[in-house]
């Protein structure tokens, strides 16, 4: 706790505000990886797809899965899985393909034997899949962990949360040109907004996106099954403007985009807005909308 206090005090004294926030998208960025089915039993298949920032149509992707388990103190991925040299524990997936999607088959693994390391806080075991995305001189390494459906699991496989809409908030839009009630930003159209103002935004997911699941928890001598509700978080991204919050949630879905900060380099301009929903067990989905910012 003292370290926390010292860091907090240090933040007061010298923490830098000069870095761009993670919600500001510039250049090559991987914003999400989605599996059609985020939890698979051995032998089952799914499609993995990447959400890559626009303007990188020439991006190529190398897919592989890592067979090394992680361990406490090492983080969520075994550090050796990040090596870019050919290694016996890195098995390429569809080596002939460079697409942003790939088919993945859950290998025949026995998590309870320890070959996948220790479970996470959701009592889940995962196979890490790596995607190295290259575009021009830029490169992003991404890991997505596919959850293994245990034969003894008392619950159905996890599903991806479902985002229904990205909306404007009625009381924060008049200056930017909105009037009346808030409304969903259409997917197929570009919403025109005035530059230099703040826009209220909100995201919504279907009620059944928040699933409940059962996990082992408690005293190691006597672990018990407990049922908890998923915590779904919405991650926001924009290619211009500044978002007040980088992460919101279903209980507090509002956000604000301030077009006076980090404005587009010239107007008119089209900016991309993304919201990515994550649950705790690898479930992912996203929405993308576009705004046309005019003077």
């Amino acid at each position: 706790m003292r370290a926390l206090a010292l860091l907090a005090l240090a933040g007061a004294a010298g923490c830098s505000m000069s870095f761009d926030p993670a919600s500001y998208v510039k250049g090559l960025r991987v914003l999400a990886v989605q599996a059609d089915q985020p939890e698979l039993a051995p032998g089952q298949e799914t499609t993995l797809r990447l959400l890559v920032s626009d303007g990188n149509d020439d991006a190529t992707v190398e897919w592989a899965r890592c067979t090394l388990p992680t361990y406490p103190g090492a983080g969520f991925i075994n550090p050796d899985c990040t090596k870019e040299t050919p290694e016996p524990w890195l098995i390429p997936l569809a080596p002939e393909s460079t697409d942003r999607t790939v088919r993945f088959t859950m290998p025949n693994v026995d998590p309870l034997s320890g070959q996948l390391g220790l479970p996470d806080s959701t009592s889940g075991f995962y196979i890490p899949v790596r995607a190295i995305v290259r575009s021009g001189t830029e490169k992003v390494m991404t890991f997505y962990r596919v959850r293994v459906l245990l034969t003894i699991s008392p619950q159905p496989a996890n599903k991806n949360p479902v985002l229904t809409e990205m909306s404007t908030i009625p009381w924060m839009g008049a200056d930017a040109g909105f009037t009346g009630e808030g409304f969903p930003i259409p997917e197929s159209e570009t919403l025109e907004v005035k530059g230099g103002y703040r826009i209220g935004l909100s995201a919504a997911a279907t009620p059944d996106s928040i699933e409940s699941y059962t996990r082992l928890a408690g005293d190691p001598r006597d672990m018990k099954l407990e049922t908890v509700n998923e915590v779904v978080r919405f991650f926001w991204y924009t290619t211009a403007g500044e978002l007040e919050r980088e992460i919101t949630g279903p209980e507090r879905p509002e956000n604000t985009l301030n077009l006076a900060k980090r404005p587009p380099s010239s107007l008119p301009a089209v900016i991309d807005l993304y919201v990515v929903a994550h649950d705790e067990r690898g479930g992912t989905s996203w929405l993308k909308r576009q705004l046309r910012v005019v003077p």
Partner: protein, 893 residues
């Protein structure tokens, strides 16, 4: 017959007694105890009259010769029991209620010569025992009538009058003995007594100059005028000549190979310490600099928790508030601080680092004193007093003020509200010149509230922390003489209640809770027996027992540990643990202290036997009770061939029990984790070219074994004892104690601290390895209460693990760092200049001080670490604290 009950009082008239030229009036009171008689009832119709008792009557009173003390006390009463026989003679006198100071003996002597008429009962003389109050009252006689002057003769010189007074030190109000008092360049002369009092009995009336002279004070000349026939009593306040309270370094019973002792008053004004005596330890050789000037004590390459801190022999868990704002023990009650970086004697153990021992003081001699202080960090109040019967008491209370203004200047994104208080209450009783009892209650509370403006929605609740400790100790010390040589015995018992860590929060569905509460109970006792002129035996026991209650929740990875690369902790299965653990650690120790050639050669073989006992999870299938024994021989040697030079060396084994968090079943290791142990090798020289200049050079090597580390693979147990470490280096110290207003020191350490986490791992740097640590401190006290000090430090930057890349964790929606070789890079070097300015105004009965303490006066923002952007593609240094001025105001009496 004996009179019972209390009857009336007969009062004597005042009798004037003259002694030479100093008349005294004595007042006598005669108490006569009443009487009671049994009433007898019978069947006779006419009852006989009750017999009556007539008490003895004082026929001849004898005046007592009053003792000298009557002049100072001015009145006294002695209650006597007097046996009067049937002749009226006094047969026995005893003191029923004494007055001391010679009054009892004087009253008895006089009473023995009293003559009474005998008591009469039923018409017959009877012996009687009475109670008699003999009262002494001091009253000077009126001046005699003027002597008639013959015609033509010169007028007689006026009669002299007494001039008396007391000499006290300005500000402190302490009475000063041994001061020469001169009247008018020596016409009359006297010296103040132990109470600071003086008297010149026959001073001619009129104007005079009283001169006070002594080495300890600045010369003082006081003009005064005496009136004819009128005594003058005065109080004179003088300024001391020495600008510090002189440090009397009594011969310490145990001589350590490497030890630095700091006196409270000397180091209170070191720049950059904000007047905190204990923080001065961080400026000594062998102590690494803590990030952001925090309070971590990293000594000779050992982890912060490996160095133990004691207050009056009792271990305390927390030395500083919030990692370094202020020490948890008020500097005002600190008499001295002893710092031993390693190679210390067998009386201390349970740590492979060093030892910091804070010794508190008793109340100042005589009177009531205290101080009140206010600055931007906290406010303090302290009071001390000497009571009758050799009892003294001191009490202090301190409360933070930083929480009043810090939230206003912290960024909008998060609010920090740290607040704290600490207290001390100490009672000393010197029952006899050889027996002393101390009772000391003290404690500290830290409360931290951290609020985020736009928290991640998964973060539930505030991250709060309340940590505190409370102690009460009782210590008995007995000094004795064994075959004509001084010996000592002491025993200290203590108990308390601690909450050293308490954090609660939740992220998503993962709670993180660490709540540790403990109740310690200790006994430390030792006897020092001077067996011969050249051999002293020290033996004793050091016992610490603790009842722990632990509640922990979170990822099975547990809290971060030294050497973690990925931040450790909060990962893995959600586990929890609630348990009670007992530790009982007993360590008998013995030391033979050989002293040859009149102290030129000191050799001390010592042995400490540490017995660690752990009991946990009782009543469950996982209950265990483990005992570990560490045999720790130690040897110290010091050879002083010349008065100004000595060679010293030591070698010793040191052990450390497992930390209690490691004993939780969450790590699957409580039954297998072993205590750590180490060997210390020390060799050095001492030079004392003058009585105030000390130069020291010491080389050291530490071998650390069985360090608790994480397993290097995904299998249980999560922790094991595979870690080893080594530390080697040298300390240099040049220290100038107070000399003509100047004091300070230069401390330099060069060291290398390394760790190896597993047998097949390469050696790596320790997290707090600092190759060079240089500290220069100088302070000079000018006249008129001005003092200026400066401190310069230069320290090698801490090791850091470089980032060689990053990856996007698509499940968590954030980037993770890819690390290079652990601790293979360093932050930039640290250097800083601090300046302090003090001004003290000394009045007769109190003092006021103002200080301005400026840290980092040239505003160099050293790099305390590195901050990265969200994907670790950009970085910039995490700047240290900027220039920080601190103002303070203090009043003391």
């Amino acid at each position: 017959m004996r009179c019972a009950g209390v009857g009336g009082t007969l009062r004597r008239d005042v009798v004037r007694v003259h002694r030479t030229n100093r008349p005294v009036r004595l007042v006598f009171l005669l108490f006569v105890l009443g009487w009671s008689a049994a009433a007898f009832a019978d069947d006779a119709p006419a009852p006989k009259p009750q017999p009556t008792l007539t008490p003895p009557k004082l026929m001849r009173f004898v005046e007592a010769t009053p003792p000298e003390a009557l002049k100072t006390r001015e009145r006294a009463e002695v209650i006597l029991t007097i046996d009067v026989d049937d002749q009226g003679k006094v047969t026995a006198v005893t003191v029923a209620q004494p007055a001391g100071d010679g009054f009892d003996e004087a009253a008895v002597e006089a009473a023995k010569q009293f003559q009474f008429s005998p008591g009469v009962y039923d018409g017959k003389p009877v012996p009687v025992r009475i109670t008699y109050k003999y009262k002494f009252l001091y009253k000077p006689a009126p001046p005699p009538a003027p002597t008639p002057v013959a015609e033509g003769a010169p007028p007689p010189k006026p009669k002299g009058v007494p001039l008396a007074g007391v000499v006290r030190e300005k500000g402190e109000r302490v009475a000063l003995p041994g001061i020469t008092v001169l009247l008018d360049d020596g016409a009359l002369e006297t010296t103040t007594d132990d109470n600071g009092r003086f008297e010149l009995p026959d001073v001619p009336p009129g104007p005079h100059v009283l001169k006070l002279r002594a080495r300890a004070i600045q010369n003082a000349d006081v003009k005064l005028t005496l009136s004819e026939g009128k005594r003058l009593d005065t109080t004179i306040y003088v300024s001391p000549r020495e600008r510090y309270v002189s440090v009397v370094r009594a011969q310490r019973p145990v001589v350590e190979t490497v030890e630095t002792i700091l006196s409270g008053d000397e180091v209170r004004r070191i720049p950059g310490t904000q007047g905190d005596t204990v923080k001065a330890v961080q400026n000594l050789p062998g102590v690494a600099r803590s990030p952001f000037g925090g309070g971590l004590l990293v000594v000779w390459g050992s982890a912060p928790g490996d160095t133990r801190t004691y207050v009056d022999g009792v271990f305390i868990p927390t030395l500083f508030h919030f990692g370094g704002l202020r020490s948890t023990v008020n500097s005002e009650i600190v008499n001295s601080i002893s710092f031993r970086p390693g190679g210390y004697g067998a009386e201390y153990g349970r740590g492979t680092g060093g030892v910091v021992e804070i010794e508190t003081r008793k109340a100042k001699e005589k009177g009531v004193h205290g101080f009140a202080q206010l600055d931007l960090i906290d406010a303090s109040l302290f009071v001390e007093a000497n009571l009758p019967k050799n009892v003294s008491i001191a009490a202090g209370l301190r409360r933070s003020t930083i929480d009043a203004w810090l939230p206003a200047i912290t960024p909008n994104d998060f609010q920090i509200v740290p607040s704290y208080y600490d207290y001390q209450l100490k009672l000393n009783w010197r029952a006899t010149p050889k027996d002393e009892l101390e009772i000391f209650a003290f404690g500290s509370v830290d409360i931290l509230r951290l609020a985020l403006k736009n928290p991640d929605p998964a973060l539930q609740g505030q991250v709060n922390s309340d940590t505190y400790y409370h102690r009460i100790l009782a210590r008995y010390t007995r000094r004795f003489s064994l075959w004509g040589r001084p010996g000592q015995f002491f025993a200290t018992v203590s108990t308390g209640y601690d909450v050293p860590i308490q954090v609660r929060g939740a992220f998503g569905n993962t709670d993180f809770v660490v709540d540790v509460r403990l109740c310690p109970y200790t006994l430390r006792s030792a006897v020092r027996l001077p067996l011969t002129d050249f051999l002293r035996l020290d033996a004793g026991i050091d016992f610490e027992g603790t009842r722990f209650y632990i509640e922990a929740k979170g990822g099975a990875g547990g809290p971060p540990r030294e050497g973690d690369q990925a931040g450790g902790g909060f990962g893995g299965q959600n586990t929890s643990d609630k348990t009670t653990l007992w530790t009982n650690n007993l360590a008998p120790f013995v030391a033979l202290n050989f002293n040859f050639w009149k102290g030129k050669l000191l050799i001390s073989p010592q042995l400490r036997l540490d017995i660690y006992s752990f009991t946990g999870y009782q009543g469950t299938p996982d209950s265990y009770s483990n005992t570990y024994v560490q045999f720790q021989p130690r040897l110290t040697m010091r050879y002083q061939p010349l008065k100004w030079m000595a060679v010293k060396a030591s070698i010793g084994a040191y052990g450390q029990p497992q930390d209690i968090v490691s004993m939780s079943l969450r790590f699957g290791a409580p039954k297998t984790i072993q205590p750590q142990h180490s060997w210390h090798y020390v060799f050095g020289f001492d030079f004392d070219p003058t009585s105030t200049l000390h130069i020291e050079a010491v080389a050291f090597y530490k071998d650390l074994r069985q360090l608790v580390v994480r397993a290097d693979g995904p299998y249980q147990p999560i922790l094991n004892n595979d870690g080893i470490g080594r530390v080697y280096g040298a300390d240099f110290l040049i220290r100038q104690q107070l000399w003509k207003g100047l004091f300070g020191w230069i401390a330099y350490t060069a060291l290398r601290a390394e760790r190896k986490d597993h047998p097949d791992d390469p050696w790596r740097l320790f997290q707090y390895d600092q190759t060079h640590i240089l500290t220069l401190i100088a302070s000079y006290k000018f006249k008129r209460g001005y003092q200026v000090g400066l401190r310069f430090r230069y320290v090698t930057g801490n090791p850091t693990t470089p980032v060689t890349g990053s990856y996007f964790d698509a499940n968590a929606g954030q980037y993770r760092r890819i690390n290079g070789e652990i601790y293979s890079a360093r932050n930039s070097d640290f250097h800083q200049l601090d300046v302090r300015f003090d001004k003290t105004w000394t009045f007769n009965t109190w003092k006021m001080s103002f200080y301005l303490d400026i840290q980092n006066i040239y505003n160099y923002r050293s790099a305390e670490g590195v901050t990265y952007n969200f994907d670790f593609t950009k970085s910039e240094p995490l700047a240290g604290l900027p220039i920080v001025p601190a103002l303070g105001l203090r009043g003391e009496w």
